[in-house]
């Protein structure tokens, strides 16, 4: 066996055999930091938290990248950038959506809400946020914005969910700290606050 091989030769071999498919390429194409030649750059108008924002968006750019790196809305977190965890959950027309897994270009007609858009004009927390504070729902907090958005989406669709319904609605959001019980306590408390 040839003990010497270059990294590129090895990678080619692995990819040809289908043994390894990394997400790295997806990450970099998704961040949209560079303008690939041949593409026409486009200014896209998207409605974020009630404001229409014009953003220079690459064709392959995900909503999460636009929010975080173009609009500075870093409340939306990236836990996996590949649709596994829910940390990036936002609402699009009231529907919970993984911002890492949709392209910003497809959002032109959508009403996007992120965690930054929930507080009232006078700074009051949204009832879900208030309930999560009261119940000490977050632990490390990294999944929290996604949990908040899933709970807001749930309560808009169903203001009076049972705990069982709530856990199904929230089940697209992983919490590695295991704070599920505390988040569900928070959702149930939020139903009371909303009245």
């Amino acid at each position: 066996m040839n003990q010497k091989l270059t990294r590129r030769r090895f990678i080619k071999g692995v990819i040809a055999s289908g043994a390894a498919a990394t997400s790295t390429a997806a990450w970099y194409s998704a961040t949209g930091q560079e303008r690939p030649s041949g593409f026409v750059e486009r200014l896209v108008r998207i409605n974020v938290n009630g404001q229409v924002r014009s953003v220079d968006v690459e064709p392959q750019e995900t909503l999460a990248s636009t929010l975080r790196y173009k609009l500075g809305l870093t409340g939306t977190k990236l836990g996996c950038n590949r649709g596994e965890c829910g940390a990036c959950t936002v609402l699009v027309d009231d529907v919970t959506t993984y911002a890492c897994s949709v392209l910003t270009h497809s959002m032109k007609n959508g009403r996007i809400e992120t965690v930054e858009g929930l507080e009232s004009a006078n700074g009051d927390l949204h009832p879900v946020q208030q309930a999560f504070v009261e119940e000490l729902s977050p632990q490390c907090g990294y999944c929290t914005p996604g949990q908040v958005m899933s709970a807001v989406g749930l309560l808009r669709a169903n203001p009076n969910p049972s705990r069982e319904e709530a856990r199904h609605a929230m089940s697209g959001n992983i919490c590695r700290c295991g704070s599920y019980d505390s988040y569900l306590d928070g959702v149930m408390r939020a139903t009371e606050l909303i009245g």
Binding site: R7, F10, T74, G79, E84, Q129, V133
Partner: protein, 807 residues
């Protein structure tokens, strides 16, 4: 005792920032002129880099520079594998070879694709027992094991020895480590039930939600490093050494950390933060290094896989007479931990066996970096030992609750091979509370009831971790505004112990919480050294330091008042933010006034004189910068005596489907025994969070490697399945014993790790119960293993395999 703050709920100051998304994690920061680093990592599990040709990459537009192992280690790479930040001798897939900085990540990644690295491919190994075989591959260059202070060595068993162990027998090879107490032979001689068998615990990643991204830049000779860690000052202290920057020149910024679970407690487990720091130094630009989920797996760590043999003897009354434990630990590609020893220690503590022997050998594999993961060792042995206890109880005609009560640790007992006395221990109370609140006795009639293919199982289990250290420092400050500033270096990974330990200082000074500020989040706010936030120690360790610093301030307050206003310090007391004479409360100073006087007086009152002699270097730097700026209370904590234990008890009822192997946890309760409870909601979070981890350990989590190429096959959440909302009970009930520990000024001990162990112990006991006493001797017990057992087939391709399927 009636406390003002201890045992009361409060909102830690970072919680609003978490629900609004305003709190910043490392990757949320930017810096003007920031460039982006990408890593070129090893695509093969064991290799030697023969040549790197980066000329094409460096010629690309937008590429700023690279950093290689030769830059970092001009005199050669360090001997041990663990702390290397870049290497020419990779020992696992994904180990960083070099880093490249460019104006954006895509350019960086494109440039990395242009770098040609020539590797010499070396034999690799994924299973410690394969490495122990004659002729088996060695994971490291120079051997398959690392001997402390001696370096790499090679260890081999005979083929018969390996085969015999795989066949289920006691290993006959010489162990690297032997620890024992008591007369093992005599204790087994007294036993009327003896269990003997092999077991495996799979390794699996921490998979913290926040990938280990970091930002570094240098300004005015100082390094600013943004990263996520469990510990603030202890981590900064360690990473300064890895980077090679003087402690006083490092500013570590870390307001929030997206999970740690042991992997970010110490700098040694996140050495990769040194990469942007070194790269930034070389190219003189701020460097952001974002990590992907996949990199979080390969740069991160994993629980040590344990391959073991256990023999346990019980006397006729159910007393555990003896435990003999032989464990081969998987040390992975970059070194490991001491999980195996801790497993033996845990059995000794929890079950108070008359005689215990531990024999262990640690062997490397070309798999993930192994390091501490929530209850390292204690929590692997929990799902192994608990079903054994139950089978013994059934054999001896003792109830499954009673066998735990008979063997329970209590105040006055000792535990572990060192026979260390407990500072206090209330395990009988915890067992009783769990049994009562769960109606354990009443539920026994449901045991093994069937409904079609489904069967009910009941389980009760215990968890333990040593939960407290000492010897750290505390600082509190007060300005002329009379507010109390508690300088806390604990770190913020979601336990809120940075806040709850601070409340010990507020308690001493009877300070309303609204008048307190916790100073934390970045080291240039001048924080004292703390112990790393691991080993469930923070509550015990840092209530001692916060309490001590506040006591020092209280003493000084009384001194100042007595000097100025007459009388003796003993004539003074405090209330309502005033220090005043006991006899005449009108004679005194408000806190604002006494702080003002302290500032005027200077000297020991402002940190300029009479400092405790033993302050750590890190604390000394903080004090030197705070000196003269306010009224200072300072404390160096002396060492305590004994082992402060953290205990938990969990009871659960499950429904196991014999057709699908699926387990539904119908009900679960976890009771904590952690001394005085500081923060009930925080305690609750640790109990439910630990429960989720215990469920993952017992039935879901394991990482796998492709045996042909050594590629990790479980770099995501779905491949090494993390429990979700739907895998955990709808409601996990919690409670606590709440009896004080005498070695802590407020009576508190920690809990974060045992909360996982007791759940795993209870859940595997319930599975054994549902399957009529079958012991799998494994974690996780996956659905396929259950189906195979029910079908009477054994699907173990390679018995006792690590990093591969078991059943």
């Amino acid at each position: 005792m009636a406390y003002m703050h201890i045992g009361k709920d409060f909102t830690p100051p970072d919680v609003p920032g978490k629900v609004t998304g305003r709190i910043k994690y490392a990757e949320d920061y930017t810096r003007e002129g920031m460039v982006y680093a990408r890593l070129l990592t090893s695509p093969i599990p064991h290799a030697r880099v023969l040549d790197i040709d980066a000329s094409a990459a460096l010629a690309m537009d937008g590429v700023i520079g690279i950093l290689t192992a030769d830059d970092v280690y001009p005199d050669g790479e360090p001997q041990s594998t663990g702390l290397k930040i870049l290497t020419n001798e990779p020992t696992l897939v994904g180990e960083p070879i070099l880093a490249l900085a460019a104006v954006d990540e895509k350019t960086a990644e494109s440039a990395i694709a242009q770098i040609s690295v020539t590797f010499e491919r070396l034999p690799f190994v994924l299973d410690p027992l394969d490495s122990l075989q004659p002729g088996g591959a060695d994971a490291y260059n120079g051997g398959n094991t690392f001997v402390f202070r001696q370096g790499f060595a090679e260890e081999k068993w005979t083929a018969d020895q390996v085969a015999s162990f795989r066949a289920g027998n006691e290993p006959t090879a010489e162990p690297q480590q032997t620890v024992e107490y008591g007369d093992l032979d005599a204790a087994f001689g007294e036993s009327s039930y003896v269990y003997e068998g092999t077991f495996t615990n799979a390794g699996y990643p921490h998979h913290s939600m926040e990938p280990r991204s970091a930002l570094a830049y240098w300004e005015d000779g100082k390094l600013y490093l943004h990263g996520g860690s469990q510990s603030l000052t202890a981590f900064a202290d360690g990473i300064a050494g890895i980077i090679g920057v003087p402690k006083e020149d490092l500013v570590f910024v870390n307001a929030a950390t997206g999970g740690g679970f042991g992997q970010r407690a110490r700098a040694g487990s996140v050495p990769v933060y040194a990469v942007p720091a070194k790269l930034s130094q070389k190219i003189n630009r701020p460097v952001m290094m974002r990590a992907t989920r996949e990199e979080e797996f390969t740069l991160g760590g994993a629980r040590q896989g344990l391959t073991g043999w256990i023999k346990v003897g019980f006397k006729p009354d159910g007393v555990m007479a003896a435990c003999d434990l032989w464990i081969v630990s998987d040390n992975g590609g970059k070194g490991g931990g001491a999980d195996a020893y801790s497993a033996a220690d845990c059995i000794s503590v929890l079950y108070q066996a008359d005689a215990v022997r531990f024999r262990g050998t640690a062997i490397g594999t070309n798999t993930a970096h192994r390091g501490a993961q929530r209850g390292p060792g204690q929590n692997q042995i929990a799902p192994i030992i608990s079903p054994i206890l139950d089978v013994a109880a059934d054999e001896l005609g003792v109830s499954r609750l009673d066998i735990r009560k008979i063997n329970a640790a209590m105040t006055g007992d000792v535990g572990g091979p060192q026979r260390t006395p407990f500072t206090s221990a209330y395990m009988p109370e915890a067992l009783e509370q769990a049994a009562t609140e769960f109606d354990w006795e009443g539920r026994q009639s449901r045991r093994r009831q069937t409904n079609g293919s489904k069967v009910i199982g009941l389980g009760i289990g215990q968890g333990y971790h040593n939960a407290g250290r000492s010897g750290m420092d505390g600082i509190v400050m007060m300005g002329a505004d009379g507010r109390l500033k508690i300088h806390n270096g604990v770190g913020n990974l979601g336990t809120y112990s940075y806040a709850s330990t601070s409340r010990a200082a507020a308690e001493v000074l009877q300070m309303p919480w609204e008048s307190c500020d916790i100073i934390t989040g970045r080291t240039d706010l001048h924080l004292p050294i703390t112990s790393p936030q691991d080993g469930s120690n923070s509550i015990f360790t840092n209530t001692r330091t916060c309490y001590g610093a506040a006591q020092d301030m209280l003493t000084k307050m009384k001194e100042i008042a007595a000097t100025d206003l007459g009388g003796d310090p003993a004539d003074y007391d405090i209330s309502n933010e005033r220090v005043h004479q006991i006899a005449d409360e009108s004679v005194g100073y408000s806190y604002a006034q006494v702080a003002q006087r302290a500032i005027e007086l200077g000297g020991k009152y402002t940190g300029s004189a009479e400092l405790p002699e033993e302050l750590a270097e890190w604390t000394q730097i903080a004090v030197s910068r705070l000196e003269g700026t306010g009224f200072m209370g300072i404390f160096h904590d002396p060492r305590h005596e004994g082992n402060p234990p953290g205990f938990t008890v969990t009871a659960c009822e499950i429904e196991l489907d014999k057709e699908t192997g699926k387990i539904d946890i119908l009900e679960m309760i976890s009771i904590g025994e952690a001394g005085t409870i500081m923060h009930p909601k925080g305690m609750d979070n640790q109990l439910v969070g630990g429960a989720v981890w215990g469920i993952g350990l017992s039935v879901y989590e394991r990482h796998l490697y492709d045996p042909q190429n050594g590629l990790p096959a479980s770099t995501g959440y779905w491949q090494s399945k993390v429990p979700t909302y739907l895998d955990t009970p709808l409601k996990i009930e919690t409670g606590w014993v709440d009896l004080p520990d005498p070695e802590n000024p407020v009576g508190a001990r920690g809990i974060g790790e045992p909360s996982m162990g007791s759940v795993s112990a209870a859940l595997t006991a319930a599975i054994t119960d549902a399957l009529d006493g079958h012991i799998f001797g494994a974690s996780p017990i996956t659905a396929d293993m259950i189906i195979n057992h029910v079908a009477g087939t054994s699907e173990e391709a390679v018995p006792l395999a690590q990093n591969n399927f078991r059943g």
